[in-house]
C-alpha cells in the first residue's frame, strides 16, 4: 500500500468534514470529504480508499449501508463509524458486519487519529499519525 493514507470522510453535517479534513491532512493523510452519501458511494466505486470514516445516522443512506457497500467493493478498506446517538444495536450490527471501530461524539481529532493509526497498522502501513500530528 502507499505510504500516504487515502481517507474518505462522510458526514451530512458540513462542519464535521471541515474540521476533520485539515486535522487529518496535518497528519499527512489525503482526505476527501462528502456530505451526500450517494456522492460518497459513487466515489467509493471509483477509488479504493484505505479508510472510510462515516457517520451512522444520515437521511437517505445510513452508515451500515455505506459499510456494506465498502465491504463489497473493497474488503481491505477499514471503515470507522462515527455516532452521536445512542444506538447499541446498530453499533453491534456494524461491528458484526466488519466495521473496524466506532467513535462516539463528542470527540477530539486526536481521538480519531488514534483510531486511524490503529487501522493503518492493521493495513500494514508504517505511517505514524500520532507522531506527525504533534
Amino acid at each position: 500500500m502507499t505510504q500516504v493514507l487515502q481517507i474518505l470522510v462522510l458526514d451530512d453535517e458540513p462542519i464535521v468534514g471541515k474540521r476533520l479534513k485539515p486535522a487529518l491532512e496535518k497528519s499527512g493523510c489525503l482526505v476527501e470529504t462528502f456530505q451526500d452519501p450517494r456522492q460518497a458511494l459513487a466515489r467509493i466505486e471509483e477509488k479504493e480508499f484505505d479508510i472510510v470514516v462515516t457517520d451512522i445516522k444520515m437521511d437517505d443512506i445510513d452508515g451500515i449501508q455505506v459499510l456494506e457497500q465498502v465491504a463489497k467493493k473493497s474488503p481491505r478498506t477499514k471503515v470507522i463509524i462515527i455516532t452521536g446517538y445512542a444506538m447499541m444495536s446498530l453499533a453491534r450490527e456494524a461491528m458484526d458486519k466488519g466495521a473496524f471501530d466506532f467513535i462516539a461524539k463528542p470527540f477530539k481529532p486526536d481521538d480519531l487519529r488514534a483510531v486511524i493509526a490503529k487501522a493503518a497498522q492493521a493495513l500494514g502501513s508504517s505511517v505514524d499519525l500520532m507522531a506527525t500530528s504533534a
Binding site: 455516532t83 452521536g84 445512542a86 450490527e93 458484526d96
Partner: protein, 508 residues
C-alpha cells in the same frame, strides 16, 4: 391506574407490547429511546457511554458524572410525564428508575427467541448462525450497560413485579395480563406513593439542573429529596462548588427547602490497589454512608529505587464542564485537540472511583510512593479525617510479611496522626454488624442471661457468701476477690452485648 414499566432487551417486543397495553389503558406509551434522544440533544454524551460499555475497555470513571446526569434526566423526564396521568414506559432496564414508588408495575418481558431471530435474519439480511451470534452479543452488551447504569443484573427477577415469557404467550395475552394487574388495589396511586414520586422527581430535577450548569457541572453531588426538602451533599474536596449550588437551584420549582451540605469528614483508604468488588470496599462504603463521610483514596506504591520514577502526588479526576446542548454545539461533536496531553488516570483507582462517584461518596484520590512518612505527608491538613483504613499493601511480599508490615504501618500512623487508624480486616469488627458479630452477640447475651438467672435463683446463698456471714476472715477476703473478678466480667459481657445491639441498630 399505575405507571407500567416494561423492561426487555428486545426493543421491538417491548415497543409492541407497550403500545398494545397503552391502547387498553388509554394512555401514552413512551420509549427509553425517545427520552435518551432528548438527553443526547441536551448534550449528555450517551453514545460515548454506550461505546465505552460496548468496547469494555475505555476507562469508565470519566463517564460516572455523565451517567449521574443521564439517570437524573431520564428519571425527571419519566416522572414529569407520569405526573400528567397514566403511562406505559419501556426500556432495557427501566424497572430501576422509580424504585420507591408504589404505583408502578415493573414487568420483565422475555421475548420469543424464534420471533426475535427471524426478525434479525430479515432486517440484517444475515444467516441464522450470524443472527444468533448477533443476538447473543447484543444481549451481553445490554447486560453490561445495565450493570454500568444501574449496578444490577438485568436478569435479577427480584426487581420485577411480573415476568412474562412470550415464548408460549401472545403479545395480546401478555398485555391483557398486565392490564388486569394494573387494576389491582396494590398498585393504585396513594398519597404516599405520589409523595415518593414527587420527591424522586424533585431530586432528579435538581441533579439535572446542577449537571447542566457550568458552575456546578463538574461536581460530584449526592442529591436527595424528602417531602419537598432537597438536600445536596458534596464532598469536602469539592467545597468550591458550595456557593453555586443554591444559586443554581434557585430556579427549581416545587422545592419546599434547599439544603446544601458538605459531608462532615473523609475516610482515608490507603491501599496499593482498589477493587470495588472487594469486601473492604463494601465495608468502607457502608461506614461512609452511615457517617455521611466521603472516601478519599490514597494509592500507595512501594518506594522507588529511583526517585524520578515517583508518580505525581496528586492524580485527581479531570473535571469536565457542563454538557453543551446539541442546538448550541457549533462543532457538531468535533472538539478541539487538547494543548496538553490528557492526564493519565490510574486504572487501579478507576473502578473504585467510578463506584464512589456513583454512590456520591467520592472524596478525592491521590497516588504516592513510599511508606508511613509519605502517608502522613499526603494527608490534607485542611481536611478532617474520621478514620484511616489501611487496605491491601505490600502485595509483592509473602502473606505473613505483608500482615506484619501492614500492622507496622498502622502502628506508625497511629502514633503520628489524630484520626483512628485501623487495618481493613478489622473494619467489620469495629464498625459494622455482620454474621460474626451476630454470633458474638448471641454468645454474650446467653452469658448475661445465664448469670442473671443464676443470680436471681440463688439470691440467698449469694447474699450469705458476699455478706461474709458463712465464715471467718478467709471467706470475707475470698468474697471480696470473687466480687472484684465477677463485676468487671459481668460489665464486660453486658457492655459488649449492649454495644453490639446498638451497632446492629446503627446507633453509634
Amino acid at each position: 391506574m399505575p405507571i407500567v414499566i416494561i423492561s426487555s432487551p428486545d426493543e421491538e417486543t417491548r415497543r409492541l407490547l407497550a403500545q398494545n397495553l397503552a391502547r387498553k389503558m388509554a394512555c401514552p406509551s413512551v420509549s427509553r429511546e425517545e427520552v435518551v434522544e432528548q438527553a443526547t440533544e441536551a448534550g449528555i454524551p450517551v453514545a460515548k457511554m454506550e461505546m465505552a460499555v460496548l468496547k469494555r475497555s475505555t476507562p469508565r470513571e470519566r463517564l460516572a458524572r455523565h451517567k449521574a446526569r443521564l439517570m437524573a434526566f431520564i428519571t425527571a423526564s419519566v416522572c414529569q410525564r407520569a405526573s400528567q396521568g397514566d403511562m406505559v414506559y419501556h426500556g432495557r432496564a427501566c424497572h430501576m428508575l422509580l424504585k420507591r414508588v408504589g404505583h408502578v408495575i415493573r414487568v420483565q418481558v422475555v421475548p420469543d427467541p424464534e420471533v426475535r431471530l427471524q426478525r434479525v435474519i430479515r432486517d440484517m439480511k444475515v444467516t441464522r448462525e450470524k443472527a444468533e451470534g448477533y443476538i447473543k452479543a447484543l444481549d451481553s452488551d445490554i447486560a453490561a450497560w445495565v450493570s454500568f447504569a444501574h449496578g444490577v443484573e438485568a436478569s435479577n427477577s427480584s426487581h420485577y413485579d411480573l415476568t412474562i415469557n412470550l415464548e408460549h404467550m401472545s403479545l395480546e395475552s401478555a398485555s391483557a395480563v398486565i392490564y388486569q394487574m394494573a387494576l389491582m388495589p396494590e398498585f393504585q396511586r396513594t398519597i404516599a406513593s405520589d409523595r415518593a414520586m414527587n420527591d424522586l422527581w424533585l431530586a432528579a430535577q435538581a441533579r439535572d439542573l446542577l449537571g447542566r450548569d457550568e458552575r456546578t457541572g463538574a461536581a460530584d453531588l449526592n442529591v436527595t429529596a424528602t417531602e419537598g426538602r432537597v438536600t445536596v451533599t458534596y464532598m469536602p474536596s469539592q467545597g468550591k462548588f458550595a456557593e453555586a449550588i443554591p444559586v443554581v437551584l434557585a430556579s427549581l420549582s416545587g422545592a419546599r427547602e434547599i439544603v446544601s451540605t458538605m459531608a462532615s469528614s473523609n475516610i482515608l483508604w490507603v491501599a496499593e490497589a482498589f477493587d470495588p468488588r472487594s469486601q473492604t470496599f463494601t465495608e468502607i462504603l457502608d461506614v461512609a454512608q452511615r457517617w455521611g463521610a466521603g472516601v478519599e483514596m490514597l494509592r500507595l506504591l512501594p518506594p522507588a529505587a529511583d526517585p524520578a520514577q515517583c508518580p505525581p502526588a496528586q492524580a485527581s479526576l479531570p473535571e469536565e464542564g457542563a454538557p453543551i446542548p446539541k442546538s448550541q454545539d457549533q462543532t457538531c461533536g468535533i472538539e478541539d485537540d487538547s494543548e496538553a496531553p490528557a492526564a493519565s488516570l490510574d486504572t487501579d483507582l478507576a473502578g473504585a472511583r467510578e463506584e464512589l462517584i456513583h454512590r456520591g461518596r467520592f472524596g478525592g484520590s491521590q497516588v504516592a510512593r513510599g511508606l508511613g512518612p509519605e502517608v502522613v505527608q499526603a494527608l490534607n491538613p485542611n481536611q478532617e479525617y474520621a478514620l484511616v483504613v489501611i487496605g491491601d499493601l505490600f502485595q509483592s511480599k509473602e502473606p505473613s510479611v505483608r500482615t506484619r508490615l501492614t500492622r507496622e504501618m498502622a502502628g506508625y500512623l497511629s502514633e503520628r496522626i489524630k484520626p483512628p487508624v485501623i487495618t481493613g480486616d478489622t473494619l467489620q469488627d469495629k464498625f459494622l454488624f455482620g454474621k460474626r458479630q451476630m454470633g458474638r452477640l448471641g454468645l454474650l447475651l446467653a452469658s448475661v442471661v445465664v448469670i442473671y438467672v443464676l443470680t436471681m435463683t440463688n439470691q440467698e446463698p449469694l447474699l450469705r457468701f458476699f455478706g461474709g456471714h458463712d465464715g471467718g476472715t478467709f471467706m470475707r477476703v475470698l468474697a471480696v476477690l470473687v466480687l472484684a473478678m465477677v463485676v468487671p466480667a459481668v460489665a464486660y459481657l453486658y457492655g459488649g452485648a449492649t454495644g453490639l445491639i446498638l451497632k446492629w441498630l446503627k446507633f453509634e
